[in-house]
């Protein structure tokens, strides 16, 4: 297997920047490699996680995108078997014209199936459908010693639960099955409702629990009477049959890094105010295509260049329900508004009770909050550290796929099962994230 000494592989947050060798895999039989590298290895899909779960300094990254074949589809059950490097975009191109849709989708369709399993991703329907791993009946795991495991919730169940949410550390996922769900239209029946405050958000979430998709955008800059204002969005697949065409390819790309001074409290505050006022009335109903509903940013390729070349930091936590007011979430929002660091896209959602299938899966019942920050040296890092502390105080946890800064102590308190998980790690595998959160001292 030829080696490709390119340093420039970045995660979507473009922070941290770590050098590694890249070895592309094109066939499920390419692994184990014929010439074992002398370094540790880590499989990586589309590189759409934000921090360092898909990075390994001075290591060898196995790029799985070449393994993108669809292997079998059963229209009776909706189960699609495909190689792990296929993206959700490619699955949608295949599935939508046939009247099927993803069971769970994150906010971008440019992730691979392998990555979706390895991070046990979630979407706007978590309160009904659980995580992506809940809809994966089976996959194959190949270890560096050549052992092959077919894993399902009942067969090699321990390998299944270690690998779902296992951040690529347990071996290479070569193929997987995904149970698609039927649709009759591309359209989503959408309803947007303005709210102010976390109590109102919680009330709206409870009232909309029957809606398949719910999410809220929240303004992290506004203070005073406007504190925690936002738009609660809910949607269901339209039941009106209509022709199911495949999506067009996006053509809009952010070609260059935006200079970092362009993103400041003023410009982001203006964006937030405009966004909040994009609907005048308290409530708005519309029939919208699934692309802007699920993937508002996918139409702008390389949108991460918006944050300049130093990149962005993500923060996502989930806090369990609290009796009375959701003090933890309120405290986090107050800390952010007080910091002066602005976030474009803060979203908040209620997670449901469906148990996550992975040992290290992130979702649990409660409220999850996700936001991004430009990197402004120590201010950003200090803020993230304080937010992680609040999450810890309120018995919550943070999402590894969106993290670049949590400490070993924080991770180990969020995921006390990490030691039993570590027995399943392939001895030749490692990641920058894992090194960081298991470091001593």
């Amino acid at each position: 297997m030829p080696r490709n000494p390119q340093p420039k592989f970045e995660s979507w947050g473009r922070y941290p920047k770590l050098e590694a060798d890249l070895v592309p895999l094109h066939w499920t039989t390419d692994f184990p490699l014929r010439h074992s590298p002398t370094t540790k290895i880590l499989p990586v899909g589309a590189g759409r996680s934000y921090g360092d779960v898909c990075l390994l300094e001075h290591g060898t990254l196995l790029k799985t995108r070449g393994m993108d074949r669809l292997l079998h589809f059963n229209p009776e059950t909706g189960v699609l078997r495909c190689e792990a490097g296929a993206t959700l975009a490619e699955i949608l191109d295949f599935a939508v014209p046939r009247g099927f849709f993803l069971p769970v989708t994150p906010g971008t369709k440019y992730v691979t199936v392998g990555g979706a399993i390895a991070n046990d991703i979630h979407g706007k329907n978590h309160h009904i459908a659980g995580t992506f791993g809940c809809h994966v009946p089976r996959f194959e795991l190949v270890r560096s010693d050549g052992a092959h495991f077919e894993c399902s919730p009942t067969e090699n169940a321990d390998w299944f639960s270690a690998t779902v949410g296992g951040m690529g550390l347990t071996g290479l996922i070569t193929w997987a099955e995904v149970r698609l769900r039927p649709i009759v239209s591309r359209k989503i029946q959408y309803k947007g409702t303005k709210f102010v405050g976390i109590d109102e958000f919680v009330a709206l979430s409870k009232a909309a629990a029957h809606s398949e998709y719910t999410i809220a955008w929240i303004d992290c800059i506004a203070t005073g009477n406007n504190f925690a204002r936002g738009i609660f969005m809910q949607g269901d697949h339209s039941q009106q049959p209509e022709p199911l065409k495949r999506s067009k390819e996006p053509w809009l790309m952010l070609p260059l890094d935006v200079p970092e001074f362009a993103l400041n409290r003023f410009s982001i505050g203006l964006f937030n105010t405009l966004y909040y006022n994009r609907q005048w009335s308290k409530e708005k109903n519309a029939l919208v295509d699934y692309e802007p509903f699920f993937y508002p940013l996918d139409c702008l390729l390389h949108w991460n260049r918006m944050y300049g070349k130093s990149g962005l930091l993500q923060f996502q936590c989930v806090l369990p329900w609290e009796d009375g007011q959701q003090m933890g979430i309120i405290k986090i929002l107050k800390t952010i508004t007080a910091s002066g660091l602005a976030s474009f896209l803060a979203v908040i959602k209620v997670f449901g009770d469906a148990p996550s299938p992975g040992m290290l899966s992130f979702p649990m019942p409660g409220i999850t909050l996700a936001l991004d920050f430009p990197i402004r040296s120590d201010i950003s890092f200090d803020l993230l550290h304080r937010l992680a502390d609040i999450a810890q105080e309120h018995s919550g946890r943070m999402y590894p796929a969106k993290d670049a800064r949590m400490t070993a102590g924080q991770f180990q308190s969020f995921y006390p099962q990490w030691q039993s998980f570590s027995r399943y790690i392939d001895p030749t595998f490692d990641s920058a994230f894992w090194q960081r959160v298991t470091a001593h001292g």
């Binding site: 490709n4 390119q6 070895v23 039989t29 074949r69 669809l70 079998h72 190689e83």
Partner: protein, 249 residues
């Protein structure tokens, strides 16, 4: 727009560029006869095309260097497909230039796979298409055949010979209603180029596949894919030898 071909023979079916051509055809229900050397990889490709909606797939494992076995395979393909609308020749090796310039045996292996085996296939297919007065013969060549460069002139000359051979075949049978397409891809991200540092010039095989299908529909003679390579190669061909010989290309 002309109708896409529906009975397709692909030689070198595990090539990444071939996948870019075959997937849209499979989605339209094409019947596809697939020839490749590695049975496991061929099985994965066949499953992919079947899943995407191919009317039928006929995988055939063989080493295309074995020219003596070409006729039997081609005859079977024509019988299984009933008639061939499109034959795509996609197999080839890059070889190692340093080895090939040091050792004739290595150079010969490159010429055998990229030129001689293709000549054997084209000879049979050209006569087949000429007798049926229809069909497209599309052959994946390379921009490397446009001018010899020190970094890959053995590979490049195998493709240059192929281009000249195809020019002649086109001149002979275009008048019979047969379309001969010479495809010249630039850098494409495939297993063949995985060891090279990838730059912005590298195209995705799916993009290249769409470009090839467009060239088939438009009945082009020679197609650079992506099209910007026509400009790049025009410039490279225009440099006088007195200067070119001193460049590091």
């Amino acid at each position: 727009m002309a109708k896409l071909p529906s009975r397709v023979l692909v030689l070198g079916a595990t090539s990444a560029i071939a996948a870019g051509v075959m997937r849209p055809l499979a989605e339209q229900g094409a019947r596809i006869y697939l020839v490749a050397r590695n049975p496991e990889k061929l099985k994965a490709v066949a499953s992919d095309l079947q899943t995407r909606g191919a009317g039928a797939v006929f995988p055939h494992v063989m080493d295309l260097d074995d020219t003596a076995a070409h006729e039997a395979m081609l005859t079977e393909a024509a019988a299984k497909l009933e008639t061939i609308d499109l034959a795509l020749i996609a197999h080839g090796i890059l070889g190692a230039q340093e080895q090939a310039q040091a050792d004739y045996a290595a150079a010969e292996a490159i010429l055998r796979t990229n030129f001689l085996s293709a000549v054997s296939l084209i000879t049979w297919l050209a006569n087949y298409f000429e007798s049926t007065h229809q069909g497209t013969l599309a052959v994946i060549s390379s921009v490397a055949g446009d001018r010899g460069r020190k970094s890959n002139y053995v590979y490049g000359s195998s493709k240059a010979a192929l281009n000249t051979f195809l020019d002649g075949v086109r001149n002979r049978i275009d008048r019979s209603g047969v379309h001969i397409l010479t495809i010249k891809p630039g850098f494409v991200s495939t297993p063949m180029t995985a060891h090279l540092p990838q730059s912005a010039l590298f195209a995705h095989p799916a993009t290249v596949g769409r470009g090839i299908l467009k060239a088939i529909e438009k009945r082009k003679d020679v197609a650079y894919v992506p099209p910007m390579w026509a400009i790049i190669m025009f410039i490279i061909r225009s440099v006088p030898d007195s200067i070119f010989k001193k460049l590091n290309l």
